[in-house]
Amino acid sequence: MFYVLSILCFRYDITIDDVRRGVNDTTSAALKAGTTISGGRQPKQKGTTCQMHAQELVVTHALGLRTRKKRGFGVVDSFESGRLLRERVKKLVSKIMDKNQRAASKNIRNIAKELCRWTSSNF
């Protein structure tokens, strides 16, 4: 805190009184100042959303799960091979781990035990 205040005072003439006034206020600017100083919460990016959800949008757009449409052109950034692979993986996992397929998951565990024994004896 001392370093932060010294930088603020040295560079921008902001003293401790200015900071106290801001933090004790209830306006949005004061909340923002308090968040910045304490570093307690990730700031939201303007126009979009927080960094984690922006990251989720990046991944889903890149994998082709979300698409962008343009008027008169339809979908402009489709990625069929990526989307199909993701769907096939999800279908496989869903089919094996389905509630109605308890025998499947039990058998897979037995195979896993066999494989563990086999790999530990061979390597």
Binding site: L8, V58, K90, A112
Partner: protein, 174 residues
């Protein structure tokens, strides 16, 4: 014996996709053996993955591993994580760009490993950019493009935090 589960992601979880790929690759041999060997194997004819598809899954997993680091660091609540948030974005984007020169570490799908083995201990091979599958090369380009779209430059909050961070000032980064 500790045997892992195959996890299905929730729609809103960014790391869920990564976890699903990871758990499936760890249990790759078991799933393949089961789908081919079980008495009801005809049930799995339409869902079982081919060798080429497993390679694609391994390459996609390697790319998601890079992007997943950012999702993990952006959820940490401390002042350092906030101050370095844009640097983490730039680092992730540069790691993706550097694949064209340095190559990518991909799980070796031809090897055999126990399903209880930790993911970091599974054998890998380094593939050059041109050895990767065409879909993976396209995916790298798409990820870089999306990072440029969603994180074009640091916003005012991030710049403010970088200005206030003592390490940044001492090192003369700004």
């Amino acid at each position: 014996m500790d045997v892992i589960k195959l996890l299905i992601p929730n729609e809103t979880r960014v790391s869920g996709v990564f976890t699903m790929y990871e758990s499936l690759l760890r249990s790759m041999r078991c799933v393949n053996n089961y789908c081919y060997r079980s008495a009801e194997s005809n049930l799995y004819e339409d869902v079982v993955l081919t060798e080429a598809e497993w390679t694609s899954v391994a390459e996609t997993y390697a790319l998601l591993k890079i992007t997943n680091r950012l999702a993990m660091t952006s959820q940490i609540d401390n002042i350092d994580a906030n101050c370095f948030s844009y640097f983490n974005v730039a680092k992730t984007r540069d790691s993706l760009v550097m694949i064209t020169e340095m190559g990518l570490n991909v799980l070796d799908v031809s090897a055999t490993w126990a399903p209880t083995l930790e993911p970091s201990l599974i054998p890998t091979v380094t593939k050059g950019y041109h050895q990767l599958e065409l879909a993976t090369q396209t995916l790298i380009g798409r990820l870089v493009k999306e990072y440029d779209t969603y994180f074009p430059f640091p916003d005012s909050d991030q710049i403010q935090m970088m200005l206030l961070h003592p390490v940044m000032v001492w090192k003369g980064l700004l």
